[in-house]
C-alpha cells in the first residue's frame, strides 16, 4: 500500500480494492485486510513502506537544503543584515512554538506506540493532541506574520519598514556592537536588509505548508483510527505519518536558532 504519499493524497485512498482491478488473490484479502496482493506478509509491506517514507524524508531534506544553502551564502556575504534584522523577530514566540512542536512530536510518538498496542481510544487522543499543537503552532505563526505585515517588514521586493518599527527585543540588542549601532541609524537598516526577510518568509512559509500537509495526514490517520483500521499487525500509516511529523519538527528546530538566535 502506497502510504508514503499520504501527505499528498486524499484520505479515502486507504480503502483496499476500491480502485483496484480484480485481484487474483482477492480471497486472501478477507483474512488479511490492508495487505496488498504483491506482498508476502505484513512485515514485508511495513518495511517497504518505511523505506519509502525514509526516502521521501530525504527528498524533503534536500528540498529545504536549497533554502539552507541560500541562507548560508547570504549570511556569509552579508552578516550585518542578519545581525540587524533578526532583532525584529520575537524570540519568545519562537521559543513557545519550539516547545509546542516538540511536545507534539512526543504525543505523535506516543500515538504510534498506542497503534502498536491496539489502544484505539488512546491513539485517537494522542492524534487529536498532536493536531491541537499543530493548530497552536500555526496560530502563533499567524500572530508573528501579522506583526511583520503591519510593520512592512516583508521580503526584499516589498520591504518598506514603517517609521515606528522597532526591534521586538529592546533588551536583547547588544549595546556594544558598532556595526549594529551604525546600521540602526538608517531608518530601513543596512542595505539589502530585505533579503533576510525573503529568506525568513521562504523558510518559515515552506515549513508552514509542511505543517498544514502534516495536519491533513494526521486527520486522515485519525479517521482511520476511529474506524478501527489499526492493530498490532497493521500500523504502518501511523508510523509513516509520525516519521513525517518528526521531520517537520526537526526542521523547525534548525530554523529557530538560525533565524531567531543570531549573535
Amino acid at each position: 500500500m502506497a502510504k508514503s504519499e499520504s501527505t499528498t493524497r486524499p484520505p479515502d485512498d486507504a480503502d483496499p480494492g476500491s480502485v483496484e482491478a480484480p485481484r487474483p488473490h482477492a480471497a486472501a484479502d478477507h483474512h488479511r485486510p490492508f495487505l496488498a496482493h504483491h506482498y508476502q506478509s505484513y512485515k514485508q509491506q511495513f518495511e517497504a513502506g518505511k523505506l519509502g517514507m525514509w526516502i521521501f524524508l530525504l527528498t524533503e531534506i534536500l528540498l529545504f537544503g536549497g533554502l539552507f544553502c541560500a541562507y548560508a551564502v547570504y549570511r556569509a556575504n552579508h552578516p550585518e543584515i542578519f545581525i540587524y534584522a533578526h532583532h525584529f523577530l520575537d524570540k519568545n514566540l519562537g521559543a513557545i512554538n519550539t516547545a509546542v512542536l516538540i511536545f507534539s512530536s512526543f504525543t505523535m510518538a506516543w500515538g504510534v506506540r498506542c497503534a502498536q498496542l491496539n489502544q484505539r481510544k488512546l491513539l485517537m487522543v494522542m492524534l487529536s493532541l498532536t493536531l491541537l499543537c499543530a493548530c497552536g503552532f500555526l496560530g502563533i505563526k499567524y500572530v508573528e506574520y501579522k506583526h511583520k505585515w503591519e510593520d512592512g517588514l516583508l521580503w526584499a521586493g516589498k520591504y518598506h519598514p514603517v517609521e515606528h518599527a522597532e526591534p521586538a527585543d529592546h533588551a536583547a540588542r547588544p549595546p556594544g556592537r558598532p556595526e549594529a549601532q551604525s546600521a540602526l541609524q538608517r531608518p530601513e537598516g543596512p542595505r539589502y536588509a530585505g533579503i533576510f526577510f525573503s529568506i525568513y518568509f521562504m523558510m518559515t512559509g515552506l515549513h508552514g505548508l509542511h505543517v498544514l500537509a502534516g495536519m491533513a495526514a494526521i486527520a486522515w490517520i485519525l479517521v482511520r483510527a476511529a474506524n478501527g483500521h489499526f492493530n498490532s499487525h497493521y500500523f504502518g500509516p501511523v508510523d509513516y505519518v509520525g516519521l513525517y511529523w518528526h521531520l517537520v519538527d526537526l526542521i523547525w528546530i534548525y530554523l529557530f536558532p538560525l533565524l531567531y538566535l543570531i549573535h
Binding site: 482491478a21 504483491h38 526584499a156
Partner: protein
C-alpha cells in the same frame, strides 16, 4: 526442476488471459494499479510529447536552413527552441526510459508481482499528465523564451509564461521523484528468494542508480523553480542583484540538479545496452560487477561536477579547476562500460537484429558524444567552445545518439513482450540505418560549426557569412539530416503500429534472453508469474537455444547439472 527440461514451460503456452485482456474499458486503464498498464500509458504519452518536441526541432532546423528569415520571426524562434528543449528534457528524456520501459520491465525482471507502491506509481503518472498540461498551457497562452534552463535574471524579467512553465516542471519533478522512490523500494524489498544483488540484471542496476539521482537531485530543482516562481510573483529578491540577490546562485542550484539529470537521461539507456549486447552476442556479459558498480559510480560522481557548466560565468578559478578535474573522473566509469560491452561482443555470435543495430549505434554515438565532452571539460578549450554549436552537437550526441538510440533499442527489444506481436525485421533494420545516417548528418556538421565559432541559439547567421561562408553549407546539411531523421522516426512509428494489427504473435522468448521477463508469456499475465520463477544467472544466455517447433528460444539442459530432478513431482 521442470524448467531445466527442453519442453516449453507451461507459462509459455498460449494463454488468453494477459494484462491487456485481463480487464476492459476506459476505467480499467485510467485507474489501473498494474505496473505494466501504467508503463504502457507512460509510453504512449511520452512518445506523443517526443513527436511534439521533434516538431519544434524540425521548425528550428527549417528556420536555419538558410540565412535570414525563412519561416518565422526572431521572437517565435526563441520560443520554439525553448519549448523544444523544455519538452524534450522534462517530458521525454527524463521520464522516457525509467517511467515507460522501466515501469513495465522492472518488476518482471525482478520476479515481483508489482512495484512496491502501485498507487504512488499511478499518482506519478497523473502528475506527469498535469505537468504536461501546464506545458501545453504555456504553448497556448503566449509561449516561453528563456531556454529550458530558466536562467535568471532573464527568466524573472521576460514577459512570457515563466510561472506556468516552472510550475509544470515542479510537478514533473515530483512525478520523477515518486518513480525513483518506488523503484528503490521495489528493488530493496521485493526481490524474490535467490535474487541477490549481484544477480540483478544490469538494467535494474542502471534504474537503481537513476532512481538515486532522481530522489537526491530533483528536490533541489523543485526548490529552485519554486524560488523563481515566487521571485516573479512577489519580488523575493534572492536571485535579483537590485535587491541584494545573486543570479549566479541560481545557476549553482539549477546545475546541481540538471547535471545529475544528464545521468538520469543516459544511465537507463546504458542499462538497456547491457541487456541487448549480451543477448544478441549470445554471450555472457563481460565484467558484470564492473558495469553494475560503474552505474552507481556515475550516479555519485555526477553530483560533483555541476560547476563545469559555469566556467565562463564568473565562478572562482580554483572552483573551475576542481570542477574540471572532477569532470574528467566521470569518464572513467563510462569508459568501463563501453570496454565491457566491446569485450562482450568479442568472439560472440552477433545477430544484427534491430535492437542490436540500435545498441551498436549507441556505442558509436555515445563514444563520440562522451569524448567531445572531454574537450568541454577542459578549461581552456571550453572558453573557446562555450555557447557554440559544439556544445549543441556534444549533448545531442549523448542525449539523442545515446539515449534515443537506447530507447529505440529497448522499444524493439521489449516490443514482443509488451504487445505480444513481432514487428517487421526488414523495416526495423531500414529504420535503424536511416536513424543512424540522419542523426550523423544532422549533428556532425554542428561540431564543425561550433569549432569555427557559430554561437548556439542564434536566430540568424547572415552577417557572419562574410567571414565564415562555410556556415551556410553546414547549416544546410544539418537541416537535410534532420529531415531524414524525422522521416526515419515516422517510419519506425508506422511499422511498429502496423505490427499491432498484422504482426506475428510473439513467443515467450523470441531473442533468447535469460532475464526473468522472458520466462513469462508474451504479453505477460496480469500478475506476471503464475508460479515463482526460477532465479538464476541473468546472463546465462547460452542455456537458451532456438527451437524451431516453438519459434523461439527455450531453456536447454545445462551441462553441469547435479540437481537434475529424479522425481518431477518433487517441486
Amino acid at each position: 526442476m521442470s524448467d531445466l527440461l527442453t519442453e516449453p514451460r507451461p507459462a509459455a503456452a498460449p494463454s488468453m488471459d494477459n494484462y491487456l485482456t485481463h480487464a476492459r474499458g476506459f476505467w480499467s486503464w485510467a485507474l489501473t494499479l498494474d505496473h505494466k498498464r501504467i508503463g504502457v500509458m507512460y509510453l504512449v504519452s511520452i512518445v506523443a510529447s517526443f513527436f511534439l518536441g521533434g516538431l519544434f526541432a524540425e521548425l528550428i532546423r527549417t528556420e536555419l536552413i538558410g540565412p535570414g528569415r525563412t519561416i518565422m520571426g526572431k521572437d517565435m524562434y526563441n520560443q520554439v527552441f525553448t519549448l523544444h528543449g523544455a519538452v524534450m528534457v522534462f517530458l521525454f528524456i527524463i521520464p522516457g526510459i525509467p517511467a515507460a520501459l522501466g515501469n513495465f520491465v522492472l518488476p518482471i525482471m525482478l520476479g515481483a508481482k508489482d512495484v512496491a507502491f502501485p498507487r504512488l506509481n499511478l499518482a506519478s503518472y497523473y502528475l506527469w499528465i498535469v505537468g504536461a498540461v501546464f506545458f501545453v498551457f504555456v504553448l497556448v497562452l503566449g509561449g516561453l523564451d528563456t531556454g529550458w534552463t530558466f536562467y535568471t535574471p532573464y527568466s524573472t524579467t521576460t514577459d512570457t509564461r515563466v510561472v506556468l512553465a516552472v510550475t509544470g516542471a515542479f510537478i514533473l519533478g515530483f512525478s520523477s521523484i515518486f518513480t525513483g522512490l518506488n523503484f528503490i523500494a521495489t528493488i530493496h524489498m521485493l526481490r524474490p528468494p535467490g535474487m541477490t544483488w549481484f544477480r540483478l540484471p544490469l538494467f535494474l542496476w542502471a534504474l537503481y542508480a537513476t532512481a538515486l539521482i532522481q530522489v537526491l537531485a530533483t528536490p533541489v530543482l523543485g526548490i529552485t523553480l519554486f524560488l523563481v516562481g515566487v521571485e516573479r510573483l512577489l519580488g523575493l529578491g534572492i536571485f535579483d542583484p537590485k535587491l541584494g540577490g545573486d543570479p549566479v546562485l541560481f545557476q549553482h542550484f539549477f546545475w546541481f540538479y540538471s547535471h545529475p539529470a544528464v545521468y538520469i537521461m543516459i544511465l537507463p539507456g546504458m542499462g538497456i545496452i547491457s541487456e541487448v549486447i549480451s543477448v544478441f552476442s549470445r554471450k555472457h556479459i563481460f565484467g558484470y560487477k564492473f558495469i553494475a558498480i560503474s552505474s552507481i559510480a556515475i550516479a555519485l560522481l555526477g553530483f560533483l561536477v555541476w560547476g563545469h557548466h559555469m566556467f565562463t560565468s564568473g565562478q572562482s578559478k580554483l572552483a573551475s579547476v576542481i570542477f574540471s578535474a572532477l569532470t574528467f573522473s566521470v569518464s572513467i566509469p563510462s569508459a568501463i562500460k563501453v570496454f565491457n560491452w566491446l569485450a562482450t561482443m568479442y568472439k560472440g555470435s552477433i545477430a544484427l537484429l534491430t535492437p542490436m543495430l540500435y545498441a551498436l549505434t549507441f556505442i558509436f554515438l555515445f563514444g563520440i558524444g562522451g569524448l567531445t565532452g572531454l574537450f568541454l571539460g577542459a578549461l581552456a578549450t571550453d572558453v573557446h567552445l562555450h555557447d557554440t554549436y559544439f556544445i549543441v552537437a556534444h549533448f545531442h550526441y549523448v542525449m539523442v545518439g545515446g539515449t534515443l538510440s537506447a530507447f529505440l533499442a529497448g522499444i524493439h527489444y521489449w516490443w514482443p513482450k509488451i504487445t505480444g506481436r513481432m514487428y517487421s525485421e526488414f523495416w526495423g533494420r531500414i529504420g535503424a540505418l536511416m536513424v543512424f545516417v540522419g542523426f550523423n548528418l544532422t549533428f556532425f556538421p554542428q561540431f564543425a560549426l561550433g569549432s569555427r565559432g557559430m554561437p548556439r541559439r542564434y536566430y540568424d547567421y547572415g552577417e557572419m557569412l562574410g567571414e565564415h561562408p562555410e556556415f551556410y553549407g553546414y547549416h544546410f546539411l544539418s537541416t537535410l539530416g534532420s529531415y531524414l531523421l524525422g522521416i526515419a522516426l515516422f517510419l519506425v512509428m508506422i511499422y511498429l503500429i502496423a505490427s499491432l494489427f498484422n504482426g506475428h504473435r510473439a513467443v515467450a522468448n523470441p531473442w533468447g534472453g535469460a532475464t526473468l521477463e522472458w520466462q513469462c508469456s508474451s504479453p505477460p499475465p496480469h500478475d506476471n508469474f503464475p508460479v515463482q520463477p526460477h532465479v538464476g544467472d541473468p546472463y546465462a544466455v547460452r542455456n537458451f537455444q532456438y527451437d524451431p517447433d516453438v519459434g523461439g528460444y527455450v531453456r536447454v539442459a545445462q551441462t553441469a547439472k547435479p540437481e537434475h530432478p529424479l522425481h518431477p513431482s518433487a517441486h
